[in-house]
């Protein structure tokens, strides 16, 4: 379980998070919605301690992230996989080397044949086995995200963080990514945290939906409850996305 308790974060004079409280249950998919520029990425980065809060506590499986020392933190981070918005693939490495990177670096697997087999298996899972020898620059946006996902799951993490997984993708590729997220969930029973402003995608995959507005979580619940929310910001957000009862109406 991930607990975010009273998180505050400012950059200079800009207050981004103003007391975020959120509990993310184990083995479920939690989607954090919110318009662009509301601090969703900052919030996600706090969970893996890429950013330190000014105030507040982040607890993952009962462990307070802020109290971990450098090497303990690195060890703890092996529980996480993260898919970045632009995939963040190493552009000097091939797809195969990118996916193999965490395995090789952590000496999880020393035998090159086994490494290659594991990489192929993960790439097959995301439907990109044929791109194994390509460079990241030769891939489309959707393909890059799928390779990023293969890399994120290669160490078989317990928690996967997704930063805008469907942003900038066409509806078919976005649906394919959603299906991948669902299949990760079913296959590995991971805890998934997705930040997005794609409402349709959120309702397709989420077990829990939260809304970040003005630096706070203003609504959180199961997708059906979320859609019935009376909160004006939630209503406006859903209305702008033309979502009524989980269906898109235009």
């Amino acid at each position: 379980m991930i607990e975010l308790i009273d998180l505050h974060k400012s950059f200079g004079t800009q207050r981004v998070l103003r007391g975020v409280n959120l509990t993310i249950p184990d083995g479920k998919i939690t989607v954090i919605l919110g318009p662009s520029g509301t601090g969703k990425t900052v919030l996600l980065r706090h969970i893996i301690r890429l950013v330190l809060p000014d105030r507040g506590t982040i607890r993952v499986d009962g462990v307070e992230m802020g109290k971990l020392k450098s090497q303990e933190l690195n060890e703890f981070r092996k529980r996480f996989g993260m898919l970045f918005q632009q995939a963040a693939l190493f552009d000097s490495l091939t797809v195969e080397e990118n996916v193999a990177f965490p395995l090789v670096e952590h000496f999880k697997e020393r035998d090159p044949v086994r490494v290659a087999a594991t990489v192929r298996k993960k790439l097959e899972l995301v439907g990109l086995a044929e791109a194994i020898h390509k460079m990241p620059s030769e891939l489309s946006g959707g393909m890059r995200k799928r390779v990023g996902l293969a890399r994120a799951i290669v160490l078989e993490p317990k928690i996967i963080l997704y930063d805008e997984p469907t942003t900038g993708l066409d509806p078919i590729t976005a649906a394919a990514i959603d299906n991948l997220i669902l299949s990760m969930q079913k296959t590995f029973s991971v805890t998934s945290v997705i930040i997005s402003h794609d409402v349709v995608s959120a309702f397709r995959v989420a077990d829990q939906v939260a809304m970040l507005h003005d630096g706070c979580i203003v609504e959180c619940g199961a997708p059906k409850d979320f859609q019935r929310s009376d909160h004006p910001v939630v209503r406006e957000f859903l209305k702008a996305a033309h979502v009524v009862n989980g269906e898109v109406h235009r």
Binding site: I48, L50, F76, G81, A88, F101
Partner: protein, 268 residues
Amino acid sequence: MERLLRIVVPVTGPVSEWASGYAAGLGSWCAFVGEAIAWTFRRPFRLQIILQQMEFVGVKSTGIVALTAFFTGAVFALQAGNIYALFNVEIMVGATVALSLAREMAPVFAALMVTARACSAMAAELGTMRVTEQIDALTTMAIDPIQYLVVPRLWATTLMLPLLTMVFNVVGCIGGYVVGIYLLGIHDGPYLERLYYYLDGDDIIGGLVKSAFFGFAIAAVSCYQGFWSQGGAAGVGRATTRAVVISAVTVLILDYFLTTWILEFFTS
């Protein structure tokens, strides 16, 4: 008093802001270097990446360093030869060129060439990795980016710059010899005899020690600038420019203080 403050504050305000920003930057750089030194002694030791970086910084810079060295030695011999001719001491050209190269020109010029060729590339590469979230990706994979990216570059430059300085010394002397003997018509016997007489091993070692410090400093400055760059492609450009300018200035300032120390150390 209020009138005085109204005059003084607009002047002191920006100055103190600049000074505190500069002090904060210096503090952050020191912490960065301290962290890199601490990570040097922690496992895993990334020998393969250090060797790759040594090839990039050292082997691939040899050509440009040799070219610069040849013409530096040549032009220095030409200038010295013309002046020494006034006093009939042309045979001192070789010794002058060799001593100047060993003590000053080889370490400084080699450091400036490596700054231009390799350290600018380091800053640009790390900067691009920062703005495309590749450094964050390393962190999320439980790999310390300072250990993985900075430590190999830092030590590779520190180790390779003395070797490049030695190349600069040798090729620079050849450049001086070619101009001195074949262009100015100085007899090679006395030319070389004076060179051997005046050039000591200490002069060469002092220059090599200096170049190791330069290597460490320029790599630390360039990696820091790249590692913490922000603001997309323009930010990477700014970081690269800053890396080159600060490294070059650092070499020249450091040169003065190291020379003071080396002269004291080697003459005592």
